[in-house]
């Protein structure tokens, strides 16, 4: 249990997927000042992360044992397919949810956070339960980072930054500051 909670805390705060591991930056920088969008994107991401964690785990355990060199290809293809199946299923059976999350699902396929999760859980030899905790933590961490970025940008959209900072400069400085703020969590859980 202690191990699982360490994985969780470490993934959400200490090694936040976006702010420390640099995964899923496209959506992180692409997110505008709309918190609702960030939440939905985060939620959709978490969902896909969970899906990926499970499918990647089974792939590793039963299919890729003898052919580890096919991992990258297998993961990306399976993730893409899984997302597409889910997209269709959600569209058919949960149209309300689809309207909220649907447009993000295809984007997520090429989100490096998803593939990164699969690769990291493989290289760390996580069990299925650990992988699930890892996925939830990663999703939560992504959602947190996205929401923080969105709410800060909501504010900076009302301000008047210098011309040179308007395009990406300020966004990267924000990311840097956020990343610094997360440095305070370093060592959490290993200090005892």
């Amino acid at each position: 249990m202690g191990h699982l909670s360490w994985i969780f805390v470490s993934t959400v705060l200490v090694n936040n997927f976006t702010l420390v591991m640099f995964l899923g930056l496209c959506s992180f920088f692409g997110v505008t000042g709309k918190i609702e969008t960030a939440w939905r994107l985060g939620l959709a991401n978490t969902f896909v992360l969970l899906l990926t964690a499970v499918s990647a785990w089974f792939l590793n355990a039963y299919v890729l044992k003898q052919t580890p060199f096919l991992r990258t290809i297998a993961f990306i293809v399976v993730i893409a397919s899984a997302v597409q199946i889910v997209e269709m299923a959600v569209k058919k059976y949960l149209p309300v949810l689809f309207r909220q999350l649907g447009i993000y699902l295809p984007l997520i396929t090429t989100n490096c956070a998803i593939l990164g999760l699969a690769l990291f859980q493989t290289s760390r030899n996580y069990t299925l339960v650990e992988a699930l905790v890892f996925a939830v933590g990663a999703g939560l961490g992504l959602t947190l980072a996205l929401s923080l970025m969105a709410s800060i940008r909501e504010r900076t959209e009302l301000t008047d930054p210098p011309v040179v900072a308007r395009r990406m400069g300020l966004v990267l400085v924000i990311a840097s500051c956020l990343s610094m703020a997360f440095m305070g969590f370093a060592g959490m859980g290993s200090a005892e």
């Binding site: 991992r71 990258t72 990164g116 011309v163 840097s176």
Partner: protein, 227 residues
């Protein structure tokens, strides 16, 4: 040339493809990725590796070379098969091609430079998820001949490598006081550890963006003055 004269030549060219890139010389195709459409500093594509591996120059450079390899290889293959790939499954096919080349890059790197391969870890396989690759395949390689596709891939790759190397050099020089592992400033140099850490990654790219934006503004201002 008048419109009448162009009509027959049009029939000889391949069927019109919407969004096909305008014709250009090979040099232009290569130069585009380095300058005006620099994937890192202008288009902000492939940010994850840009920041994750640029803490030292060797890693940044290796990542750049690996990406260039994948860009060129996948560009070539996408372009070669562009007429045979059905429209409905093209993205899947592109991903398959890209993933293949990424795997090749991963294996080759692990065989030749095991230390760098270990340092880059999962970020080599993660090249698959770099939007730059799918973007170039879809927007360029799938619409032009193999030579141009390779040129474009090479250009984009060079632009990527150069930007990554520049960022990585900055981070390594100030963050460690070394370049490619060689100490530059002697033993009393105080490294700026900040640049080695995640916020330093965001910061370095941020500064690069500010500098690029400043240069653009400066040129704009001076262009106006000249007029």
């Amino acid at each position: 040339m008048t419109a009448v004269a162009t009509a027959p030549t049009k029939a000889d060219t391949p069927p019109f493809e919407p969004g096909a890139p305008p014709p250009a010389t090979l040099i232009q195709d290569i130069w585009r990725g380095i300058g005006k459409e620099n994937p890192v500093l202008v288009q902000f594509l492939g940010m994850c590796p840009t920041m994750a591996v640029t803490n030292i120059l060797a890693n940044g450079f290796a990542m750049g070379v690996a990406t260039t390899f994948v860009l060129t290889g996948s560009g070539l293959f996408v372009s070669l098969f562009r007429k045979y790939v059905a429209h409905e499954v093209r993205i899947t096919s592109y991903i398959l091609i890209i993933a293949t080349f990424v795997t090749l890059a991963d294996l080759l790197l692990a065989a030749s430079f095991p230390d760098i391969s270990k340092a880059l870890g999962p970020f080599i396989p993660l090249i698959v998820a770099n939007c730059l690759l799918l973007g170039r395949a879809e927007a360029f390689a799938a619409k032009v001949g193999p030579v141009r596709a390779v040129a474009d891939g090479l250009g984009m790759g060079l632009g990527f490598t150069l930007s990554l190397s520049a960022l990585a050099s900055f981070r390594e020089i100030l963050g460690r006081g070394t370049l490619l592992g060689h100490p530059l400033f002697g033993p009393r140099f105080e490294p700026w550890v900040f640049l080695m850490m995640p916020p330093g990654g965001f910061f370095t790219l941020g500064v690069a963006c500010l500098v690029v934006a400043f240069a653009i503004e400066w040129r704009k201002k001076h262009a106006v003055r000249r007029v």
